[in-house]
């Protein structure tokens, strides 16, 4: 096969001891930057990009892949251990991952995340290597109407269906969307909901909301509880590594997460968030159907699926980047700049003009994924030990960590104040059982939904039927209808079965 031999020659270029060293250095550096809240893998790549310019292209790309995957894993690590996602695509990991960590299964959560990343990364890179050219056509099937449909699907399936109380889920989603519209409107330049505060013109950062709600909110909530200073729960002894039972529960979510993530990287502006939310929703719904759901108390499925989806998406994001010259994420944009630095112009001609480099890049993506697994798996139990600190020390450290992280992204004291205001909101949401997850979904996907709806309306000159004018959009709405209907039937049945004693399911966080 033609692609196969080209890929093998790519490996021949990439697999030298020196290159492996660069990859290793990249993974370590990337992980170090990735653990900071607000500094996810895209920031890690951007910060360390100047470093890679010192190298010749192949070595640079290999280090790049290392930094990138390291950053991804760093984000997942803090999500799980400290409930503080490093980037928006690892928010979902915090929901179940941190619950697992609190019940003493941190190293299993980390292992499920790193293996999930590995599975998603390898499968997706294979798809990129062999089907990149063909999948470009798929990317171009997505217009504003299709994006809007996707955002709706994510809203409904996560905000309304996944949470225990749909009403509270929708309220939380509304809060998120309200937060997301603050600032200067992208399309018209109008100033919205800033209350005359000039600091709010840039809007409220996703990092501030995420870290505030998840980390600061959690610390405040624990602090206000009568047993706030209680010791950490028992750290489970036994294998620090995935047990056979864990593997049995994880492998299907890995596969499903990968399958969900693959198409999302290809479509421009998709981002890695939607598939992680969807994967979480799917796993939670499936667990509930099986009747032995641990969701809310630390379900390994809720870590395995989204992490696989996240990495599958980020790897297939290379398809529009290489094939069209379109950066679909911040990281991809930085990579585009790197390509241009070496005089390559991603786009329809790239595979012909710069074939050698492209195949070396793909080979190094494989290497980066494998190295990440080898390096980080042994570290999972080590990281997990962090939780053995007395809880009050850990929380104090976490507050420092969250504050420094938010301050360092923009150097703004106002943002730090905002962080604690959002943290207070998180405290009250926990107190009154309003789920936090839909707020984050609203903040991240609200602008996408709004912008694409307005574009669709502009393109269709105000005619609402443009929203259902394509097969893809209709298909997405059909899935949405099925999900909603299945959920409604299930709830009605549940209510009939045990009407008085409805079990209140603990929300995320």
């Amino acid at each position: 096969m033609d692609s196969l031999s080209l890929l093998l020659s790519g490996f021949a270029d990439a697999l030298t001891p020196a290159n492996l060293m660069w990859c290793l250095a990249g993974v370590v550096l990337g992980t170090a930057v990735g653990v900071l809240p607000g500094l996810g893998s895209s920031m890690a790549v951007a910060l360390l990009l100047p470093l890679t310019f010192l190298l010749e292209p192949t070595a640079a790309f290999i280090m790049f892949a290392g930094i990138y995957y390291g950053g991804q894993f760093g984000g997942a690590t803090t999500s799980i251990l400290l409930n503080t996602p490093g980037q928006s695509s690892s928010i979902v990991t915090a929901f179940e991952g941190h619950a697992m960590a609190r019940s003493g299964r941190a190293s299993q959560a980390l292992a499920a995340a790193v293996v999930g990343s590995f599975v998603g990364g390898i499968v997706a890179t294979t798809v990129v290597a062999f089907f990149a050219q063909r999948m470009v056509a798929f990317a171009l099937g997505f217009g504003p109407a299709e994006y809007f449909a996707l955002a709706m699907l994510a809203f409904v399936s996560t905000a309304a269906v996944v949470t225990a109380s749909p009403l509270r889920g929708i309220v939380a989603l509304g809060i998120g969307i309200a937060i997301s519209v603050v600032g200067i409107d992208d399309q018209s330049g109008a100033v919205r909901m800033t209350l005359g505060v000039s600091h709010l013109l840039d809007g409220i950062g996703i990092v501030v909301v995420t870290v505030g709600l998840l980390a600061v909110g959690e610390v405040l909530y624990q602090g206000f509880r009568p047993d706030g200073g209680a010791p950490v729960q028992a750290i489970a002894t036994g294998t620090p590594w995935l047990s056979r039972g864990d593997l049995r529960r994880s492998w299907l979510p890995w596969m499903r997460g990968t399958a969900l993530g693959l198409p999302f990287g290809v479509i421009p502006a998709g981002g890695a968030e939607i598939p992680t939310f969807l994967s979480y929703g799917v796993e939670k719904a499936l667990a509930r159907r099986r009747g032995n759901s641990e969701f809310g108390r630390g379900a390994i499925e809720g870590v395995a699926g989204p992490e696989a989806a996240n990495n599958a998406t980020t790897a297939t994001a290379m398809i529009p980047l290489l094939g069209l010259g379109l950066p679909t994420s911040a990281t991809a944009a930085v990579m585009l700049a790197a390509f241009q630095q070496y005089g390559m112009q991603p786009g329809p001609l790239l595979f012909e003009n710069e074939g050698d480099l492209v195949w070396a890049l793909l080979a190094s993506m494989f290497l980066g994924t494998v190295l990440l697994l080898l390096i980080n798996l042994p570290f999972a139990p080590l990281w997990a030990r962090l939780l053995r600190l007395p809880r009050r020390h850990l929380y104090a450290g976490l507050l420092v960590f969250a504050t420094v992280g938010v301050y360092s992204t923009k150097g703004s004291i106002f943002d730090v104040g905002l962080l604690y205001a959002v943290g207070a909101l998180g405290l009250f949401m926990r107190r009154y059982d309003v789920p936090v997850a839909p707020v984050l979904i609203g903040v991240i996907l609200g602008p996408l939904a709004e912008g694409e709806l307005r574009r669709a309306m502009a393109a269709g000159q105000g005619d609402l039927t443009v929203l259902v004018d394509s097969g893809i959009a209709v298909g997405i709405y059909a899935i949405l209808a099925v999900v909603a209907a299945a959920f409604a039937v299930k709830r009605i049945r549940e209510r009939a079965e045990r009407s008085p004693s409805r079990k209140a399911e603990v929300g995320s966080g």
């Binding site: 170090a32 930057v33 653990v35 900071l36 500094l39 951007a46 910060l47 100047p50 310019f53 990317a139 171009l140 099937g141 997505f142 217009g143 200067i184 409107d185 992208d186 399309q187 018209s188 330049g189 109008a190 000039s198 600091h199 013109l201 840039d202 809007g203 010791p231 950490v232 729960q233 028992a234 421009p268 502006a269 529009p320 069209l324 010259g325 379109l326 944009a333 930085v334 585009l336 700049a337 241009q340 630095q341 786009g347 329809p348 001609l349 080590l382 030990r385 962090l386 939780l387 053995r388 600190l389 960590f401 420094v404 992280g405 360092s408 150097g411 574009r455 502009a458 393109a459 000159q461």
Partner: protein, 331 residues
């Protein structure tokens, strides 16, 4: 009690873990502690999304400054939105900081006028003009429209039927589209214009059949034009560009040419000394071989000016664009 079983060794492991995390923080903070010394670290604000024209200017400048040791670290910060006014308002709050630069140009002037932004160029320190490029009007290869004249006919008769994709409100893209429609004798208010952030998104909108016509920077479309996926109908330059086989809009008889210039601005409240240091830095930048290389590769015309010459240009350009925008009924 579980708490008492927490032994020394485990405590140490935990402390080591926290130290490792802290190390990560320090590593990043280190690069920030040198903020006072301009020359060691510069933050370059791009008031647009990654991947667009402004972004390219910033990243090419980053490369040239870094390669020649003019600045040790250049950090590019993308703040898209609001026709560039989001980045502008951020910049206006960096009072007295001599380590921040912002990319500016035609689009910002337009963005300020159209959005009625409370922040204007008076709130920052415009430094220099770096280069110019031009806007291309393009359609998909499968479009029945083969020339700008054919597009003009269709556009004039039913402007709202033609969906045009381009950069933010007030950008050279937007102004070119609105001016063209006005010069064709139609009402520019009928322009059916969809805003995207960056050339990449505009290109996708065109290729995915969301838009019929794209108005965007010539460079962003060069690869697709070369392979024949996109057909360039006209460019916004006054005369034909060397090495570019595309007619100008003027050749179709429209009184319209618009350069998309890019420059640099600094923070407000700088001392004269700080300002001169930054001007010298920009002067050094445009003389680097890397920058010259970037100009050639991106097809940018070298139009460097600074000081009084630039101030005059800026005042004149602002007046001209304000007139255009008022004439179009956009402000």
């Amino acid at each position: 009690m579980k708490r008492s079983t927490l032994n020394r060794r485990e405590m140490l492991a935990g402390v080591a873990g926290v130290a490792a995390l802290g190390g990560g923080v320090l590593e990043v903070r280190n690069s920030e502690t040198t903020r006072e010394h301009a020359g060691s670290r510069i933050e370059m604000v791009v008031p647009a999304a990654a991947g667009g024209g402004f972004d390219s200017v910033a990243r090419q400048a980053q490369h040239a400054l870094g390669e020649n040791g003019l600045v040790r670290t250049v950090e590019v910060v993308n703040l898209p939105g609001g026709g560039g006014t989001v980045g502008l308002s951020h910049m206006s709050r960096q009072h007295g900081r001599s380590d921040v630069l912002m990319i500016m140009g035609t689009s910002i002037l337009g963005g300020i006028r159209i959005t009625g932004s409370p922040t204007t160029l008076a709130d920052i320190t415009p430094l220099a003009k770096l280069a110019e490029d031009y806007v291309v009007v393009a359609v998909r290869a499968d479009s029945p429209v083969r020339s700008f004249d054919q597009l003009a006919d269709r556009w004039r008769s039913d402007p709202r039927r033609i969906t045009v994709a381009g950069g933010a409100v007030g950008t050279a893209d937007h102004l070119t589209a609105a001016l063209a429609l006005q010069r064709l004798g139609a009402d520019p208010a009928d322009l059916n214009y969809i805003v995207y952030s960056g050339d990449g998104e505009v290109l996708t909108a065109l290729l995915s059949h969301t838009a019929d016509v794209a108005v965007s920077s010539l460079n962003g479309f060069a690869a697709q034009i070369e392979v024949g996926e996109v057909r360039a109908l006209a460019v916004s330059s006054a005369h034909r560009l060397p090495g570019v086989d595309v007619p100008t809009i003027r050749e179709s008889g429209l009184d319209l040419d618009l350069a998309n210039w890019r420059g640099l601005a600094a923070a407000p409240g700088l001392t004269d000394g700080q300002r001169r240091t930054l001007e010298d830095l920009v002067r050094d930048l445009v003389e680097t071989p890397e920058w010259g290389h970037s100009l050639r590769r991106f097809g940018w015309k070298d139009t460097f000016s600074t000081g009084a010459e630039f101030a005059d240009f800026l005042a004149e350009e602002d007046r001209r664009l304000a007139g255009i925008i008022k004439g179009l009924g956009l402000s």
